[in-house]
Symmetry: C2
Subunit: 221 residues, 2 copies
DNA sequence: GCTGATTGCGTGAGCAGCCACTCACAGGGA
DNA sequence: TCCCTGTGAGTGGCTGCTCACGCAATCAGC
């Protein structure tokens, strides 16, 4: 049965692709299988996206958009740096658990052996968060809430290290197991979330906060 | 020309394998090519290691051993927790730069889709460092150098997050680029190392140190 | 010591299966 | 009738793995 694909079908290929790439990895994902699962012909897939890599890039695009949207929704004007940070941590954890396939797509980029694409993606993805984080931190420093002796860029880097690892910890098999080993908690269970968020905040507040702020540190557990 | 492989040849296959797996990834590494590069027949490779996965595991084993050795060399008895941490950070950075293929092998595990192997590896690799880190932190807490209100396990987890990201930052293309984006520094150039080590220490000391220790914080940059 | 037999390690051409990609075609819309 | 979109059986190239063979080392008999 030929003729004119519906909008859903066209969007469906991308979603199917994301699921397959996330589950099996780039190499093991099979374009024939993806097309069949999406109810579309292979021919269509290749005519539309050129080749496998092109299709992958399209899938990636959607995943990254969703990720970026979630992150930037935390950066509401008027919020204090501390509130922003807390929102960022909570959103990251929740998003990673709910849309683990998007995170795993992002993780796939990290593994890619295509020098140019790798560089482009790193610049795009990290560029966005690097600027956002550095801005928050700089603002905090100006307001006197955060210590000024650690360069904002380096602080942003250390902050993002923790954010990235959080993302992976709730999406990838290896990182989930690692989370279990370290904390004794089950990553899929949201029960430990609040405690974790509190501890991460606490850790960061201590690491980045100005002396005056440290005193108000609350006991956690 | 057949007959009896030398010790070097036998070790050589593993080294060649590590290089190939690290460079191209598990799927793209070609057993025929590895055998040829190592100056050995494919037949030998498969007779000795069973299949590609078995050969990969053998390569992994050597990489992990080297990594574990380097890490555990920092844990000399008698050192203060702070000294141990500093040695750990320095060693991690230097090792990652010098033996980036070992780190990339480790990273490959992280991507593996083999549930059982993933779990086993996570338990082994992370189990070792988790215990070591937690022990150092607990000791620090008992000595009153480190704050006691953050559970040692969680602290170890956050510490390891930073250590892992440091490893990747000097070994993987994506992470190298990310490091450039964030810090503006060139990851392959050791010139920025001391400053980075100082800042990481500073960050951790602030995050984990007891109040009394914080006062002695030195200005960095 | 010498020689033919025996053993088994290592070889690499070849095979089988997989999968990205093509292209001749079907059929719906204008 | 003429596009033009989408189809899916087919193909070519790649790669993990096999297996029949060759060669050296060891051995048995003299």
């Amino acid at each position: 049965m030929p003729k004119k694909l519906t909008e859903e079908q066209m969007a469906g290929i991308i979603d199917t692709g994301i699921r397959e790439f996330a589950d099996k990895g780039y190499e093991n994902a099979n374009t024939n299988v993806i097309a069949k699962k999406a109810g579309v012909s292979v021919g269509y897939l290749f005519k539309t996206y050129g080749d496998k890599r092109g299709f992958f890039t399209a899938c990636l695009e959607k995943s990254l958009q969703a990720l970026t949207d979630a992150i930037s929704s935390c950066d509401t004007a008027g919020k204090k740096p501390g509130e922003k940070a807390r929102a960022l941590i909570r959103t990251t954890i929740e998003f990673s658990r709910a849309h683990d396939d998007y995170i795993r797509m992002y993780y796939e980029v990290t593994v890619l052996r295509d020098r140019d694409l790798t560089k482009e993606m790193a610049d795009r993805i990290e560029g966005i968060s690097a600027k956002a984080y550095a801005a928050i931190i700089e603002k905090g420093q100006q307001e006197g809430i955060l210590r000024k002796d650690l360069p904002a860029k380096k602080a942003a880097y250390l902050f993002d290290n923790i954010m990235m690892m959080l993302q992976f910890s709730f999406a990838g098999d290896y990182y989930k197991e690692r989370y279990r080993v370290y904390t004794g908690l089950e990553p899929d269970d949201p029960a430990g979330d609040e405690a974790l968020i509190g501890q991460v905040m606490d850790f960061l507040r201590a690491a980045l906060g100005a002396e005056s702020v440290k005193k108000s540190r609350k006991k956690s557990k």
